[in-house]
Subunit: 161 residues, 2 copies
């Protein structure tokens, strides 16, 4: 059991790539439940590891329960999901004492080119220094949860041509 | 990962109580997803242990993925479920080489008094001897999945007055 406190931003430009660590981690994920009840149930394959994650209602502070599961299970569970899996590469980008994650979306096709940055915070009042490659904040915009993106695609203007 | 092959019956009478082992196991469970996608996501507390279970579409043969989780997590997750938890007591009842489970439902109130018996089978063609306290078979009746019972209550006539 945990509480996830996280701010999320669009990304403007490629400045983050100069400080990103390594080649990034390939992630595939899908949703067993997204929007029917208050909780989202996510199946994720991150590199060689499967995860089953339950998240409470979205926003800055969010309940999160994450369990590692066998890779084989995760692959079978992706086939039970409500939509084709979402694929992205996750980059770790350090900035003034905080570790940002930058997700570059690849699939489904309508999400290709979307880039989102997130930073996890120790408490809801923490004020991390903001890198200059960030775009507008979307923490409280429900259209930018990964579950909503998987279901409905990106909001207009979120993906650069 | 697993496949669950299971037949399910209504129960006629109390004959099973003479051969039931011990006092039974108290179970509370709820659903994070039930009916929106192809999969059901169940949170269960069985005695002192929590479980998170994903089941594929219902019927005789059903994909099932079950993971033990901390009791505290299970209690928090029950609060995220789509409906108040279902409570039942599970009894183990041996009969001619097969172990039946008999579930006596207690909550929500509209399910109180419902009794269902299940037997897990090694393959879809197994033909276990049927105890004489069984009522009609409901294996393929989607109204008798626990998720449907939690959502919609018992079908007419399923609960004795």
């Amino acid at each position: 059991m945990g509480i996830e406190i996280e701010r999320k931003f669009l990304v403007a430009g490629e400045g983050w790539r100069r400080v990103a660590r390594g080649p990034g981690l390939p992630i595939r994920q899908g949703y067993l439940s997204a929007g029917a009840g208050p909780a989202v149930v996510r199946v994720r394959i991150a590199g060689p590891q499967g995860f089953l994650t339950i998240k409470g209602p979205g926003g800055l502070v969010r309940a999160e329960f994450e369990y590692p599961i066998p890779l084989d299970d995760a692959q079978s569970l992706l086939a039970l999901c409500t939509a084709p899996p979402l694929a992205k590469t996750r980059h770790e980008v350090p900035h003034e004492g905080h570790l940002w994650t930058v997700d570059v979306f690849e699939a489904p096709e309508r999400l290709a080119g979307l880039v989102l940055a997130e930073v996890e915070l120790p408490d809801a009042k923490a004020a991390p220094p903001l890198p200059d490659w960030l775009g507008p904040e979307v923490t409280e915009d429900p259209r930018y949860t990964n579950a909503a993106l998987a279901k409905s695609g990106p909001p207009a203007g979120a993906v650069k041509a």
